[in-house]
Symmetry: C2
Amino acid sequence: MYFKNIFSFLSWLKTYEKSWFKGDLSAGLTVGIMLIPQGIAYAMIAGLPPIYGLYTAMIPQVVYTLFGTSRQLAVGPVAMDSLIVASGVGAIAMVGSENFIALAIVLALLMGLMQVLFGIFRLGFLVNFLSKPVISGFTSAAALIIGLNQLKHLLGVDIHRNNQLQYLLIDAYKHLGKINWPTFFIGIGAIFIIVIFKRYFKKFPASLIVTIISILLVYFFRLDHYGVKIVGTIPQGLPLFSLPHLDKKTITNLAPIALTLALIAFMEAISVAKAIEAKHNNYKVNANKELIALGLGNIVGSLFHAYPSTGGFSRTAVNDQSGAKTPLAAVISAVVVGLTLLFLTPYFYYLPKAVLAAIIMVAVFGLLDFKVPAQLWQYTKRDLLILNITLLITATIGIKEGIILGVLLSLGMLIYKSTKPHVAILGKVPNTYLYRNIDRFKDLEVFKNILIIRFDAQLHFANTTFFKDTLYSEATKKGSDLKVVILDGESLNNLDSSGVYAIQEVLKYFKGKDINFYFTGLKGPVRDTITKSGIISEIGKQHCFMSIQEAVDYYQHNNINTYKKKFTHQNNN
Amino acid sequence: MYFKNIFSFLSWLKTYEKSWFKGDLSAGLTVGIMLIPQGIAYAMIAGLPPIYGLYTAMIPQVVYTLFGTSRQLAVGPVAMDSLIVASGVGAIAMVGSENFIALAIVLALLMGLMQVLFGIFRLGFLVNFLSKPVISGFTSAAALIIGLNQLKHLLGVDIHRNNQLQYLLIDAYKHLGKINWPTFFIGIGAIFIIVIFKRYFKKFPASLIVTIISILLVYFFRLDHYGVKIVGTIPQGLPLFSLPHLDKKTITNLAPIALTLALIAFMEAISVAKAIEAKHNNYKVNANKELIALGLGNIVGSLFHAYPSTGGFSRTAVNDQSGAKTPLAAVISAVVVGLTLLFLTPYFYYLPKAVLAAIIMVAVFGLLDFKVPAQLWQYTKRDLLILNITLLITATIGIKEGIILGVLLSLGMLIYKSTKPHVAILGKVPNTYLYRNIDRFKDLEVFKNILIIRFDAQLHFANTTFFKDTLYSEATKKGSDLKVVILDGESLNNLDSSGVYAIQEVLKYFKGKDINFYFTGLKGPVRDTITKSGIISEIGKQHCFMSIQEAVDYYQHNNINTYKKKFTHQNNN
């Protein structure tokens, strides 16, 4: 029981069905083959030698299979995190230097430790604060930055790596005259082939095909003599254990980047894991366990020269579509990468960097999100604005800045909206017991002595002034006929202490004007507060009703006849 | 029309009734007399010579009468702001030095400018973010700090001015052996007299009485020769116009203090103004105009040697209780202060500082708030926690820190609560059309094929995961009998884009399980979003009902008989 709780793999291993193996094998091979060029390409994004991409493609996913709760998540190097590694570590050490490599590996260790801690302290819920518009804007911006950073390899020119869109574009424009045409044609050709294959021959691993074709082309025509940059030597053999070097200064320098990565990487993994879980529904993804599993993957990975990894969008989708039923598929992928490391690395010597750029550009172009903005345009300009601001800031100022501003804007909007909530004056739908907004429904019955008002928000410190002002001004509009105010509590979801004081003021105000005040349809938690705070005794228990109709009946009977106690009063159990 | 809009005094001057004058005169004289010792005492809190307190008691309130929208607000020096002046300016210049005085006056100018700008840009709503617990905790803490800072004068010892409770207490403890007993007895005697008068002879101006008695005592017994510290020379004459000296460095240094003061001073004034407005109800306080009026009071005041002022709690209450009907009362108070400045200042020479300390200590003891914490204890431990944290941080770390943390905690709590809102599973109240929480009401009718669920919050990015998880787990509990899920929309106050995507996922999930999904009682704004986002076409317009009962009837009839279109469907107008 306890073991199964920690080692998630026990739960699927014990019930493993023979019929699953075909899917796992097919998915494992497909993803494994996909990982070779992707691993090399993502290492290039991160500013690392290709071999580190392959190490990262191998180790973390094996660790993940032991502890992870998703059965299809494909863990390994991903484009966005590679970009963050490049920009973060690049600010401390020269990209590609020995020190840079060492720091990228230490970064994986730190990030992994943070993820494990976050998981233990159950902070997985933090990812809930990333709203759809923020994720969409952020992803599109990151895709733009990653894609444009590849222009350098695609054009064969010397554009500086940068995380700010505007400088990338300016720099690219300046270098337009110096394009290396063989490089450019190889790159464009690769893009063309991948796109065609993706559209018409989905079954074939397009990136592997362009990899093989381009290696052969360069080898036979010696295109490297014509300025086509190639990958060069990739060492052979499996990664060896070695302890990353940690000192206080390194930790201080890397901590903010590690934190950003820990959260962003988790956000990527959990969103794709949840999406795939919804499709399968025979297991449950646990956010905190995912954090621990991904974190352990990074920690163990860093002991074997891996740089930061997480669950990626595209490979997970391919893994699932290829039939993966359990993490056994991931073990098979890791074996494929391991075999490549042992026997095949020399064959990648002539692989042109332009082809890697092509693979990356096609992949990230798929991440550019046009669908969500188009949908938001239909029904919420506010969320669209948040999306666009997040996109703009992420693309032109920085990844961290974009995501932080996006989250703050989302929270700000949430609070702002609740400070001026929707308020409805209700009238009776004729011949029913239903009361609806008089501004939205026609032919409602409105009583001249009764103001029925609905406040569509919890009542809290930041909207009590609005609540009072609205109530008073609506009461004033009714004029001197007004005898009773009915506050419909069905949408009043909560009441904090400022709300309690506001209601007490309101009661006093109406009492001073000899106007009765009734509550209807209060929810349980609000009833509790109303009772414990003593408001109930100020208003009188008999003035709290289950429904608006009862309150109206009570007032009308009470005024016309003598009062007969025949109404269901709301109780407080 | 336009003039009246700016010069608020036109609105009461034109309709001035003769009967009002008696009240205005009596209140004006009372507050004016009260202002003399208070002005001197608050100047002492601020670390300024007494005369500046009198200048501040005179000028700003005259300016306020022209533009202010409250008719009873008494503007002048107040304890809390004086404390902030002392601590803020004290960090830049030596308390009591020429430079210190000049900076305190410039501070009023800067703060006034900020208030006017805030008013023009309609930022008065910002004060809504101060919740009751934060205001209560903050006020109590400030009262403690102000009161304890007076121990120095009350004991006649040399305790350093400090804004941190712990150091004040330690310092006071260290000096216990050096108490100047004549000073101490005068102070304690004054406190005793004021308290007695406040309780039994409310009509008499207690602080004026102790002021006069103590002056006579010191004068006749020459107590100043026995170590009793006295106020000393106060210059005679009205304040003269002079431009405060402004340079860039001063502005940079003072800007943060000015900002704190601008907001805190406004908060004090607007809360007391609103409270008094609620009593009278023949005029309306406008937050943004108040900002402008208070700001102009500070600006003009600073040109006549006044330091930061605002509307104070206690004097406003006295003003109102003494019968003030219009700001004419404030003009009369200003005249009293003016006459004092012209003719009476020499008589305050022998006023002992211990008596001023006594006046301050009794006043701020009244600000210590025990009522609100006692009430919160009854019904909301969360808000009580926020109150106590605000109090503790304000008292031990700093005023700004306390208030900022309090606001952030309140906002955090607001968001936190809405991420895990109350959810109710509903059952039918027998023989009614009402549906209530099955956990709170007994003997409700529950249908085995129907899950009726109510989510008591707006659906937004930070609670969509909780929403989905809850819905799925409740559906699972129902088992295979479940045929239809009814989401009661009456408490679903809003729907952002993340909420829309969540609902789409939910619809897909239940469709995959062949379970129907109905909406009931959706509010207008949510209906708009449901329509524009296209959810309506996924769910089918016929599956949106006005009430739960209709949805239940629809399902039951639809399954038992053939469906007859006899139900009122919710329309979208």
